[in-house]
Amino acid sequence: MDNLSKLGWLAAEILLKEGFKEYNYQPEEVGVVLANSNSSLDNDLKYADTIKEFPSPAVFVYTLPNIVIGEICIRHKFKGEHAFFIQDNFDAEFIKQQVNYLLENDNLQACICGWVEVLEQNYKAVLFLVEKKKTEKSLLFSAENMDNVFNKD
């Protein structure tokens, strides 16, 4: 796994460790909507280095940003709607609109969304689990609440 996939995979582990009941949902009812600004560039630079000697298929396969979604889907058996967007900065309003469309139109019943970014020494992952039922710990799914979490140190 490349660093982007490792980061997203780990963040999803932590996110789903408590309180997420996979058995509440069919595989198709859970989706993943992610974004970042540098796509898979961290791994692309590594792949570009392998071309000089011997191009590595194991590195090449991670030269796409949506592979991290695939890894999360494999791990948790999520088969629903998903998408990877490239954004200059985390656009919480856009992510909210995308996820709301999928939930309101019953494409999904639950969705993991957020930001997963790795480039060389810098990395950041902020993931949210969005479900239709309110729980004790849950916050309202809004751009403002996502931005507050995203901008926390």
Partner: protein
């Protein structure tokens, strides 16, 4: 819930076969393929088959460069935060550190959008219009020629390309970028349809492009995914895919003035949750996306008159796709794969192939599947071996890619 109709206003294909949809469709009717053998050491140590532009091909004229330079020296004043951001930072960095001119990737986007927007009445400067760009690798070829630096990283970032293209046309909203492997183009159409349905915008200009570089060729070679001859979708003797480069644009609108135009009726996306680089063993997940797209379009399975398949001609993709089509109850629907004409154009594929199929609806003519002779998939599908005249109202476009992604969209009259 009443769903807004989303109309196809206009489209373009900018490929080695031609610079307009009409030019491309004429070439396909004459069974002319863009795929041929290339012996270019800059791309591959060994000869390979692909559909590529000529090396000296000019995509946009120099007046466009002038406009671009003007933008950098005197950015628009606007009130929006996004545009303020657009005006500072990145573009200046780009200007100083790497190069002034548009890359080939950006030129392809600009050329395709320019042709598509001609005489449409769609105003790129309208606040109600959004630009959506789809690509798998954008400017990745710069990694082959430039040393790694912060400036290079910014120049490679797809948001830099998107901003340059948006600025060229004066789009007011921040452009949306989709990079989701080989379903990017279909996903861009679905995303545009949904944004318009939700009323967030009235018009969407959706453009996909990818450029074939050593980075991409070597990767597919390392996977042993390239055919050593013309690709043979769904055929018994298929051994792999051909790569291709190009761009395509679809302009969508909910404006009632386009009533009577062809519509994007429904779409869906799914994930295999099975393997990163190999498709589902069963095809159930693509079948699910197909069924959801048909449901979203509010039509019956029997209303699908033909299928524009992904049909890459790799052993596993075509086998999985045929399974999915069977599971969705579409095994008798006429089907084509255009990969033998264009190669696999990656982030542009879903758009190029949708535009060809939109033209098929207009001309009641389904394009054939070059390279196909004898069915070589377990679950039978009805592959078009020659151009077919039918009265078609709706088609299904499918796509699948690395990361286990699948997408399906229904477009019709």
């Amino acid at each position: 819930m009443s769903v807004k109709d989303v109309f196809v206003v206009t489209d373009n294909i900018f490929s080695p076969l031609g610079k307009t949809t009409a030019e491309n469709f004429t070439q396909l009717k004459n069974n002319i393929s863009g795929v041929k053998q290339h012996d270019d050491k800059a791309l591959s140590p060994t000869p390979f088959f692909a559909s590529l532009f000529d090396k000296d091909e000019i995509f946009i004229d120099t007046t466009n460069h002038t406009r671009h330079a003007e933008f950098i020296s005197a950015p628009h004043r606007t009130d929006s935060q996004h545009d303020d951001h657009l005006a500072d930072g990145v573009l200046k960095q780009v200007q100083h550190d790497i190069q002034l001119s548009y890359t080939k990737f950006e030129q392809l986007l600009i050329a395709s959008i320019t042709d598509a927007l001609q005489n449409t009445g769609i105003n790129s400067k309208d606040k109600k219009t959004i630009l959506i760009i789809s690509s798998t690798k954008g400017n990745i070829s710069l990694l082959e020629t430039e040393a790694n630096s912060e400036a290079l990283q910014k120049r490679v970032a797809m948001s830099t390309s998107a901003k340059l293209v948006a600025a060229h046309f004066g789009f007011q909203n921040q452009p949306l970028i989709i990079s989701n492997a080989c379903i990017s183009g279909v996903m861009a159409i679905i995303t545009g349809m949904r944004l318009l349905r939700a009323g967030q915008y009235e018009n969407a200009v959706i453009c996909g492009a990818d450029v074939i570089s050593k980075f991409i060729v070597s990767g597919f070679q390392s996977f042993q995914a390239l055919s050593d001859t013309m690709c043979k979708p769904f055929d018994k003797a298929r051994t792999g895919l051909n790569l291709g480069e190009g761009a395509a644009t679809v302009v969508l609108s909910t404006n009632k003035q386009f009533e009577g135009n062809i519509k994007v009726k429904g779409g869906a996306v799914s994930n295999d949750a099975n393997h990163i680089s190999g498709p589902s063993r069963t095809g159930e997940e693509l079948a699910y996306a197909i069924k959801q797209a048909i449901k979203d379009a509010d039509i019956a399975t029997s209303d699908i008159d033909f299928i524009s398949a992904h049909g890459t001609a790799t052993v596993y993709n075509d086998e999985m796709e045929a399974n999915a089509i069977g599971l969705a109850g579409l095994q008798t629907a006429p089907l084509n794969s255009l990969k033998g004409y264009y190669g696999h154009t990656l982030g542009a594929a879903g758009l190029i192939e949708s535009v060809v199929s939109i033209q098929s609806l207009k001309e009641d003519l389904i394009i054939s599947t070059p390279g196909f002779k004898e069915l070589g998939v377990t679950s039978p599908v009805n592959v078009c071996v020659s151009p077919m005249h039918i009265n078609a109202d709706n088609f299904l476009k499918t796509a699948s890619g690395f990361g286990g992604c699948n997408a399906a969209v229904v477009i019709g009259k």
